[in-house]
Symmetry: C2
Subunit: 225 residues, 2 copies
Amino acid sequence: MGEVKLFRTWSSLFALRVVWALKLKGVEYETIYEDLANKSSSLLEYNPVHKKVPVLLHNGIPICESLVILEYIDETWNKGVRFLPEDPLARATARFWAKFNDEQVFPSLFRYFMSQGEDQDKAKENALENLKLVEEHLKGKKFFGGEKFGFLDLVFGWLARYPGIVNKAGNLKLLDKQMFPSLCTWMELFGDVPVIKENWPDEEALILKFHETRQGLGIYISSPN
Amino acid sequence: MGEVKLFRTWSSLFALRVVWALKLKGVEYETIYEDLANKSSSLLEYNPVHKKVPVLLHNGIPICESLVILEYIDETWNKGVRFLPEDPLARATARFWAKFNDEQVFPSLFRYFMSQGEDQDKAKENALENLKLVEEHLKGKKFFGGEKFGFLDLVFGWLARYPGIVNKAGNLKLLDKQMFPSLCTWMELFGDVPVIKENWPDEEALILKFHETRQGLGIYISSPN
């Protein structure tokens, strides 16, 4: 297996998908927690282009970008559980929606969280449009790839908790069962997978972090919980 | 092989990499030229999320997003030439830089092209920073993956012609041999690959298009060629 190290922060959802992937594959690894306000020289050395977590270090060689890391893990430790399906078309579909999550769904929810007033209304509209496309794609399926837990569940996994936590931190509701029945059903199913359930960051700490982030932006919070 | 159709525009560099990939694999296909000012109902049906070219239609099923399409082509027609290497680490490296091209290199050069004044100075600085990282990655290698033409050459291929054409259209120089010796050597080598050489859009038409785009933005062009 070699020596495996993961550079992460305690709260990053992009690192979290890598944690889940390593645990699901049964890969033993060492965790290095980074403080993004004071990045380590190792992080800057291993990810000089983006200077971000997660970074996976395998036998001293760094792999960066969480989607790239997920595929690397899937191809390197490929006995037993596989994240991506074998069929090229199903793989293309998974890669398409993973890209959509990272380039559109996450940024639109992040903008919604980091703004207020008219900007926030626009961001909310955009986030809901994106989530509706995800809902439509998920409709009629148990997991994103069908009957079997896989790659896209890891990619969209953050949706199962982070929007709810943001709602608690800033009274920002997005996902409800009426508008997103498939997503909400999947969120429960996904959250029940043992490796997933056992590896979320502490909810109270996340609520506090998000609450402080919004306060730091000078955003008035109507009803913090 | 099945029925293969490619929805493209004559000028899109994202479609062009798919054209090269199909030709290199010897896949026969039908081309459908789209007018983005008046998108066909087929394009809107096959790519409802992004409504963009390229779209590859294989036996009636659409695959969207050019990087996803490249991997699909590589996995579907996998006899003979392979774009991605076999080694998981080399694959991860290729995917990392492909993402960097699409998310940072291209957008920074596009901003440089579409702006003026201070905005343009900033965009230029950013574009040069990105290109220097690419230059550094390419240093000492013949092609992006080493000795063999592959995936990243298709992805970065646009750099071999488009910046030069933009320079001719708008007097916007970016790449020179002194600052980018490896990239400039690669550009010549890449441009000499027969399938590449034979499938560029018409240079004069591109110059005219880019010239008109900048004029349409009301940008004063100091010395159009």
